[in-house]
């Protein structure tokens, strides 16, 4: 793989969004951000993202609903659900709706990077460049 992974971050916590985007960019990934589901779906429609890191609580929609809409457009899209409110039910539902992983905040940055690389590899087979 010669191209960096395209990552879309979706979260209404601006601090988390900016901080994570900055650090991922520094690692050589291509990053875009969206603060709500509608903005995320616009970017998804363009076909740009390869991995989406999606917060469960979004201002305009429940993250699971957002996941479903993303998967309707792009069933093979790699999506990691991220939440600050751990719940077994939500975790299982997200897997049922095709999430590739379900992670809990706070998450160490290095762990997040590994999760992104793992779901990328699971979804597309390649390794993805940092």
């Amino acid at each position: 793989m010669t191209n960096p992974i395209h990552i879309l971050l979706v979260d209404d916590e601006i601090d988390f969004l900016e901080n994570t985007a900055k650090r991922l960019t520094r690692r050589g990934y291509e990053v875009r951000s969206a603060e709500n589901c509608a903005a995320a779906l616009d970017i998804v429609a363009s076909g740009w993202p390869q991995v989406i890191v999606l917060d469960v609580m979004l201002p305009d929609r429940d993250g699971i609903q957002c996941l479903r809409e993303i998967k309707q457009q792009w069933p093979a899209m790699a999506v990691i659900l991220l939440t600050g409110h751990a719940s077994i039910q939500t975790g299982l539902r997200s897997l049922e709706y095709g999430a590739n992983d379900y992670c809990l905040k706070p998450i160490e940055f290095d762990v997040l990077v590994e999760k992104i690389r793992i779901v990328f590899r699971e979804a597309y087979g390649g390794e993805g460049k940092e």
Partner: protein, 873 residues
Amino acid sequence: MMRKKAALLARTTDSMKFFSKFLQAIHWPVGPRADFPALQQAFREQYKNFRSLLTANNNALELMAEMEQAADQGRPFGMTFVRTRCTALSVNVYKMIQRLRELSGGKYERLLPAFKEVSEQMEAILSKQPAVAEGPFILELAEIDRHAADQVGEKMANLGEIRNRAGCQVPDGFVITAAASQHFLGSEQLRNEINRRLTLCDPDNLEELYTTSAAIQQLIAEAVLPEDLDFEIHRHYQGMAAARNGELLVAMRSSALGEDSGNISFAGQYRTQLQVSEEFLSRTYKEILASKYKSQAIVYRMQRGFRSQDVIMCVGCLAMVDAVVSGVMYSRSPTDPRSSWVLITAVAGLASQVVDGRAATDVLRVARAAPHAIVARELRQPEGAARLTDEQAGELTRLAVRLEAHFGTPQDIEWSIEPRGRIIVLQSRPLGQTTTPEKLVGGEVMTGSATPFLLAGGVTASRGAAAGPAHLVNSSLDLLQFPKGAVLVVAHPLPEWATLMPRAVAVVSETGQVAAHLATVAREFRVPAIFGMAGATQKIMSGQLITVDATGCRVYDGRQDEILADSAPLPNLMEGSPVHRLLKEVLRLATPLHLTDPASLYFKPSSCTTFHDLTRFCHEKAVSEMFAFGAKHGFDAKSAKQLVGETPFQWWVINLDDGFSDDFVQKEKFVQIGQIVSVPMLAIWAGMTAIPWQGPPPVSLSGFGSILFHSTMNRELDPAVRSGLANRNYFMVSKNFCNLSVRLGYHFSLVEAHLDDLLTENYVSFQFKGGAADDNRRLLRVTLLRDILERYDFRVETVADALTARIEKKPASYLAERLKIIGHLLIHTRQIDMVMADPAMVEHYRNKILADLATIVPQAEHAHDEPDPHPAG
């Protein structure tokens, strides 16, 4: 007889079935042959699922180990820990089921109800809320006794008990109950927001802790009090005021459900507001409720294993007492339950000055027996301050003895004396005690009294000794920078320093005495503390390494090991707490393993009653499905290539994906070690071949030894020829993965490893079972293996003669060294159980193996000193 028994054992091992399936797959292809590229593509798809399942399996096992460790070791953890681990565990087990079903083309549907059953039970335990408090929003003190603790909190229930059952004077007043608090804070939105913020907060990060604490308190202070509750509070206040010609100031005191019980003091955690007039009633009420989220309270609950919802705040509104002298008294010494005197701490004015730790106080010891002689008196208040008379001291002592008799346990009592001499009890609670006797005023130097000390004096607020760099704290800013393991040095023992108790190794304060809240908390956390040590903040420099001998009331320069040798080990503060109990409860659904034998009739989805059962089942079936793939798709015998080269025994290698170099020709029956590019296999191989095997030990007297020998050394065996013996050793490899089944004689070992640059997926696991010897010898051998593997940082579990060893999430180079160790052990411990009866021989072999390993993996020896490869980011 021995052979028979061993053979029987071998037949029942889980590995047998697994292996026969494998051989079936290799030797009896049944399905239509697919063309090779299509087959490889299908195989890659299977392998992707298989690998994903293995990752989930690893995660699940590691989570279970982490949870068990937390429960056993009692290091502090909160609900966030339990909830996140349970959620991650459920998600990973579910992922395994999903992947297994994909691997098997939709089989094993019955795993779903089994999983649902376990996960729903777990969710039910996690979301269990304390019962919703019922009853009125307000209760008058006259209506309360200690049975009302679940409505008004321990503190106010005790006060009601003292008034109505023990016949003592207490202030007039009423209590705003738990039902009121839940009515106010019960809105789902507010509760969720508070929980969300708490979950995201790392209590080890003080700055984050303070921000979170402040934000939550503000959230509560800004919330609107329900009208009906507000009305009731004012109505009761006005009723009390009317009886006093309209003039009334109240003290508003927190009284939390669950506090002050047993050894859990919550001392000084929450807010008390004195002199409150009517216009500030509602605001103060909200502030006291919010004080549940003061930083020291959050840290305290975390350390003691309480959830936020375990603590429901009630608030007592008590008429202010016009106090001439106030104080705190202990009906016994807090460090000696047999003491025959009452300890009284007194100060002019209000009692709050005593527990705040600011004021200089008079300390008296008064004999419990009449006529209550003053045993010791230390007057520290300035000249002219109001003091206790001897009669008052005697009267207080009688009261302390009476309350102790009433409650049946030594008491910690807060009191005031009015101008007319009437004693008013403000609070009485069980006295937190340590069991070893000690002197309170002055003290005995532990050891090393000849060592010149830096400072001496003060009182032992909490006994013990510790050393660390001193850190002077004056302000919140100093507090934020307080390093873990430092000695807290302060001018006054303010209750807010309690936030630092989990970080501080000792406390030295210039003022204060044993009755300060901070002393109570220090005793609870077993942090040695000296209070009232004059000159501490001048004589001790920030950063200076000091040793605090709290028992002897001395501070020494530098580290004094002789003194430290006497200090007691830290207690398990979590044991028996609500969160600890809850973790134990969910662990019962997670870790017990009932499915141990895949050959058993009970090895089926409906027998899975824990997450461990489910992972075991999924892992076992996934391995079988991978093997069965060959049979299903005409995966013929040619896929197993015999390894050629200078090797002991015979080995076959199956390339799962990219485990062979590009120059390997698929039609070949043999593969050279130089054509293998599988990183983990090469590491195992390096360990196997580093030191040549010298054959079985020189005691194989029976025919058994020779059978074993022949079965392993018969070089005529050909992979394409069906063999009557199941003694084959297979590597299944890809570049980063290796699954090795070793079956020789009656031993079975399974090594599995994934080595990559993604730490999360990396692991080495080693299973060993069986042996052609009696039980005792097999156990000895497992013990030997365990001993060696633990030296190299493996996490080892043994059940009878089966051993499982694991390491996860370490860099590939680190794990490759561990694989070399396993490689060596596989070859060189193989027949040792034949000599296991002879302790001298065992010792000889142990020493030989350890010496050999030191030459094979010299850098792995001190692995535990290596820096953490995965630091927090």
